[in-house]
Amino acid sequence: MKKIGLIIKREFSTRVRKKSFIILTILGPILMAAVMFLPAYLASLPTDDRVITVLDESLLLDFEKGKDEIRLRYLPPDKFDFASAQAFSEAQGDYAFMHIPLSEGGDPDFVARNVRLFRAGDISVSVESYLENTLEKYLQKEKLKATGVDPEIIARTKTKVNLRVINTDEGLETENATLIKMGIGYVAAFAIYIFIFLYGSQVMRGVIEEKTSRVIEIMVSSVRPFEMMSGKIIGIGLVAMLQFTVWIGLGSLFYVIAVSLFIDPQLAANNLPNAAANISLPDDGLLSIYSSLQSIDFFGIIASFIFYFIFGYLLYAALFAAVGSAVDKESDSQQFMLPISLPLILSLLVIIRALDNPDGDIAFWFSMIPLTSPLVMMARLPFGVAPWELILSMLILLISFVLLTWFASKIYRIGILMYGKKPTFTELLRWARYKN
């Protein structure tokens, strides 16, 4: 046992001291934060105003001002004709020029057919669709007026429905929070997926390195192959846990900083003038999210996450170690990687179904199969899973972990001393049957 401790220590400390680890650990959350906040930040940046000169001879648009970055500049039809208006637009350097002709007898369809937009060059899609929508809106108003319907009445009869869904399963009649649960399930499953691939392949590479540097022969004369394999897997697993913890810690820190720097001032600025609205806002927005969060068993999810994270990693890492032992160089590992990566990728596909129907047959069975259960069960958990299902899934995973590790170590102990020809799958199975 003391020897395993030494191996774990070496695997852990040599990796943690590497520059690449330190950089990735610190940079990871920054990159993630950048991916999350950059689009929002870019969208909040003021863009160049685009001014569109409008010669509205039908007075259709009612001097609509435009929106954020698209402004409409109206030229008085009594002072400008088409040619002079276009010349004026060009002289001003405006983005585009729109001409709404006068319709004989006020026929909206005539206007719709004859309105024109001019620009030297291509027109932006957003400008074009904005103008089309605006024209459609005002033309509809005109048509309603023509048939004697007051547009005000139409506006008043429009109703927005926000369906309040109650989950009766969760005792308290809390608000449904499907989207949040989907988010939690997906993020948890995806984190396990990433870490299994990232650190499982590190285990494999470590084994190949020991083989190619030929240090393995010296090692196995001091420690048993099983001790070497488990020491390496546990050591790298601890590196994964450290990195994950740092990422979560730094991520939350960045989140708090970002919120207080960018979002809080905006909220404060928006809310201060009307304190009354401030109180009513949480009622239908934040408060409902808050109350629905309460319906999720966070403790259970976190505990299960740690379990599936650890045993999912251990299960796959043993297989990665066996693959590493069977080959002499990384490029030979492809063939053996396929049966390992297949269940992982399959899990990701099943998750999409499981998030939509967490109690369905597909979701149930894949959360029992040990190679897919770590991901699929994590996707199901936020929606609530019967305790017996969870316990059964964990039990199956535990038993398979023991069996697969035993099997992998049988291949490993032969593979690490084999050089030369790349073995076939049948040969791997034969290795597993060798006595010692």
Binding site: K2, K3, L6, I7, R10, T14, E210, S213, R214, V215, I216, E217, I218, M219, V220, S221, S222, V223, R224, L417, R430, Y434, K435, N436
Partner: protein, 297 residues
Amino acid sequence: MIKAEGLHKSYGNHVALHHLDLEVKAGSIFGLLGPNGAGKTSFIRIINQITAPDSGQLFFNGEKLSASHIKKIGYLPEERGLYPKMKVGEQLLYLAQLKEVEKSQAKERILKWLKDFQLMDWKDKNVEELSKGMAQKVQFIATLLHQPELLILDEPFTGFDPRNTEIIKKEIQRLGEMGTTIIFSTHRMESVEEICDSIVLINKGKKVLEGSLRDIKQQFRSGNYDLILEESEISTWPAGIEILSQASLQGKLHLKLKLEPENKQSLLQFLSTKNLHLFQEEEAKLHDIFIQTTAEE
């Protein structure tokens, strides 16, 4: 020290060791010889408990070989290798601790060895920065840090220049004198003749020759003698002597004779009146014995 009884090991259809019986006496420097694929590495791996035999038993100091003996064995594999990205000092400490040497004691011994081998300046360098010869020395040190009772050296001189070979050879001889049992596996027969007390020759998993170096050489005596005489002193030779070759060199006659042991005395008497410069029995070369025995099989 090591006693093998009916050791048998096969991989699939390939028999690596065929019911091998073998004994390595304590304190001896024992040459484990054999052509490639003879089963030397399989035998060494069984002693190191890297693999287990299919049948047969191995005893270490009279006890059945067990995990507790690992720390008493030092092994220098033919395929050398260290962790390239680990510092020399750390690596040695790691390997020593895996052989259950106390940390403080290991550190002391590492310093002593690095000094002896003039590697002190490299202690905090990564192994990948060392020259091949230096890395080999570091590995040799790693094999000895836990002061093993049994030392297994598989082709220890490969990769060393003549100067370093001499250093390592002296070290091996010194360890032998201090009572360490050494199993020395090699193809280089001249180093075996210099170092080993006794040898075993195995071929295709079977033992073909065993004994002390002297006995084996005796066994393989050719009965050939080299003579140097003043030229044309002899016209007729006594009976029972066969002249294999003769040549004149700088006024002297160089002869190679074959004679039966019972005729030796009469020949010496015959030569006592002649102007004799050299009379020497041709020694059996291990190299020739090796080729002869492995070819017969």
